[in-house]
Amino acid sequence: MPYKTLILCSKICDGMNAYMAYKVTTKTSLNLFNRNEFTVKRRFSDFLGLHSKLASKYLHIGYIVPPAPEKSIVGMTKVKVGKEDLSSAEFVEKRRSALERYLMRTVNHPALLKDPDVIQFLESTELPRAVSTQALSGAGILRMVNKAAEAVNKMTIKMNESDAWFEEKQQQFENLDVQLRKLHASVESLVCHRKELSVNTASFAKSAAMLGNSEDHTALSRALSQLAEVEEKIDQLHQEQAYADFYLFSELLGDYVRLITAGVFDHRMKTWSKWQDAQVMLQRKREAEAKLQYANKPDKLQQAKEEIKEWEAKVQQGERDFEQISKNIRREVGRFEKQRVKDFKVVIIKYLESLVHTQQQLIKYWEAFLPEAKAIA
């Protein structure tokens, strides 16, 4: 079912208040929405609120819910590339881009797109204020809570994996996590060096300009001044390329690492565990009822029979839940793997376009400089 939903985030400074708000524009052809194009104003805490709701609704049934945008701009390798200045242009752009990618991932998920909270988030002019952000600070705390529970459960749950697919997939995801982190670190190093190159180039450009000013020979002086200008332009190219490196690759890789640490496999284990516990409990209840058969306590016997019915239902529910989450995860993983290929292809093409653009600019600059150099006589 082909459709096009595009979300654009741009920042608006709310003059009267001290917080940053973002303009969220949605363009869509879907019937889910009242109009084809609409804009709302949202705060960062609103995004966290949305994520929190979606996570609580869908994580435990095996959906890969896009993780909330990071609160801090410090990269995953904890390398501070520039000061963490909340008002700096770089910080705002990073956050804006992250929020946009978060929403796009959310609406690209066929189930999440239909979720009323998502629709409300995109459409409603007024949104009920999210509860204090401390409690909702991103995927961070959610993950902490999940991981704590998982840590406990991992110690006690030894799941009889009847399905080799899950075991393999989990292993693959763990490997992928390692690989992605490594790639992410490589890209961060690349970005860092490119920024360094930009600084060095600007510095050289300045020194060349000074040379041009002090040089007596007219043509040589002019050539040196032109050289300084060329280097300044090249510095600009380095900066743009560093942005491309960062916004295309670094952020993509970071997103994917956060995506696969969302913990769907652990939820499946918990669901299985709950089902097993129900079976154990059912067994106990049956044993208790059997004992009561000979105890001549009709009230208690009746209660026992009712409890058996209750736990039989729970066991059935547990089995259904487990089958459902297994089915959901299989589907989600398939979708994830297809989406991943699409995402990477898009990014690689954009990156190549930026690389081609840079080279073509360089060609222009050098072609313009060559006659100046030749004119020195």
């Binding site: 991943r340 376009e353 060559l370 030749k374």
Partner: protein, 370 residues
């Protein structure tokens, strides 16, 4: 010992090439080919750095060359240190750009230029030491002559005072001032340019790591995973191309602009040294004048003799120096022009190659079916 022989055919400067370099332990040996201007027969000699040093010292200590102190001597690059004994960082500090490049390529180019400059110099090209350097089968550096007795620029207080000594000639005062100012600026530019080159090399290494990591993303369990692996390999090729581009760009930088800046810096030092020698002679002359004035009658004749001799030397030096400076200005502009043009052409060519390669990759990726 160096003395002029007008009759000996001189080596053709343009024919001088350093064709090979071999390393034996700590010693580097350079193979140098050249032709005499009178014949087309090529000669090949093998020289070590000691031989170059011997040549430079011989040139500096030539007798019978009027006004030799006024000559701007082509600067000889410092003694090469094989990588076994020095770290890259130390080499960079000592030699700047000459330490870069594979297999001493840039250093050899600098040595080659030195020989060409000596052979092209109107006075120095006539030196016996030079022709011996190019033709003698034995290594001339083994027989060490007397060292140059010239005052080299040092940073002793005494010397610095002399360096600032006011000149009697406007032309020379202005040359000295601009020399000081410009040489600082060129030094700074050289350092900054070197920084950019080193960062480009770091970027190449970082791209290498990134490209290798992408190779490791390998999974063939299902069609989507296979496609993803293919995409990662594609990206790995692209990043590899980015790396190669950085390497080419920095090579271009080093072999043209880097070499130019290094040469310019060292030649400015050589000019500064010549001007300083002249200034020292001026100080000596002014002292001789004072001595002559204040001399007691019995010493007067001697002092006047010294004063006359010193005046004559100073005039000779100044006239040689003036010609040298004019030649220097002409030559330097021409050299810088050639290097700037070469640098620009190389970078343009690399950019065109790389642009075509990236465009190819782009087309391939656009057609990639997911």
């Amino acid at each position: 010992k160096g003395s002029n022989e007008e009759s000996a055919p001189s080596v053709s400067a343009n024919s001088i090439k350093i064709t090979d370099i071999t390393q034996d332990g700590e010693t580097l040996t350079f193979a140098i080919t050249s032709q005499k201007s009178s014949s087309s027969a090529g000669v090949c000699v093998f020289r070590t750095y000691e031989d170059f040093d011997w040549l430079q010292q011989s040139l500096l200590s030539q007798e019978d060359v009027p006004g030799l102190l006024g000559v701007i001597f082509p600067p000889l690059p410092g003694k090469p240190l094989p990588s076994t004994s020095f770290t890259q960082a130390k080499a960079l500090k000592q030699f700047g750009f000459l330490a870069l490049g594979d297999e001493w390529k840039i250093y050899c180019k600098a040595l080659e230029l030195y020989l060409q400059q000596v052979a092209a110099h109107t006075t120095l090209s006539k030196s016996k030491a030079l022709s011996s350097f190019f033709s003698s089968t034995e290594s001339p550096g083994k027989h060490r002559g007397k060292k140059g007795i010239f005052k080299r620029l040092s940073h002793v207080m005494e010397e610095m005072r002399k360096e600032g000594h006011k000149d009697v000639d406007k032309f020379f005062q202005s040359e000295r001032d601009s020399c000081t100012h410009l040489s600082v600026l060129f030094k700074v530019s050289t350092e900054k340019f070197l920084d950019t080159v080193l960062t480009k090399q770091k970027l190449a290494v970082a791209c290498g790591h990134f490209s290798t990591s992408l190779h490791l993303v390998c999974n063939h369990d299902n069609p989507a995973a296979v496609t993803f692996s293919k995409i990662c390999l594609k990206l790995s090729d692209i990043i590899e191309a980015v790396k190669v581009n950085f390497e080419k760009v920095s090579d271009n930088d080093v072999s043209s602009m880097g070499l130019a800046l290094d040469l310019e810096s060292r030649y400015q030092e050589a000019k500064k040294e010549m001007l300083f020698r002249r200034t020292c002679k001026l100080v000596e002359l002014e002292a001789a004048n004072r001595n002559s004035e204040r001399a007691k009658p019995n010493k007067k004749a001697i002092m006047e003799g010294v004063q006359k001799a010193t005046q004559k030397e100073f005039n000779l030096i100044s006239s040689v120096a003036k010609k040298e400076i004019e030649q220097y200005h002409r030559a330097r502009v021409s050299v810088l022009r050639d290097f700037l043009v070469s640098w620009c052409e190389k970078q343009l060519s690399t950019a065109q190659e790389t642009s075509a390669l990236f465009s190819q990759h782009l087309e391939a990726c656009r057609g990639f079916v997911v």
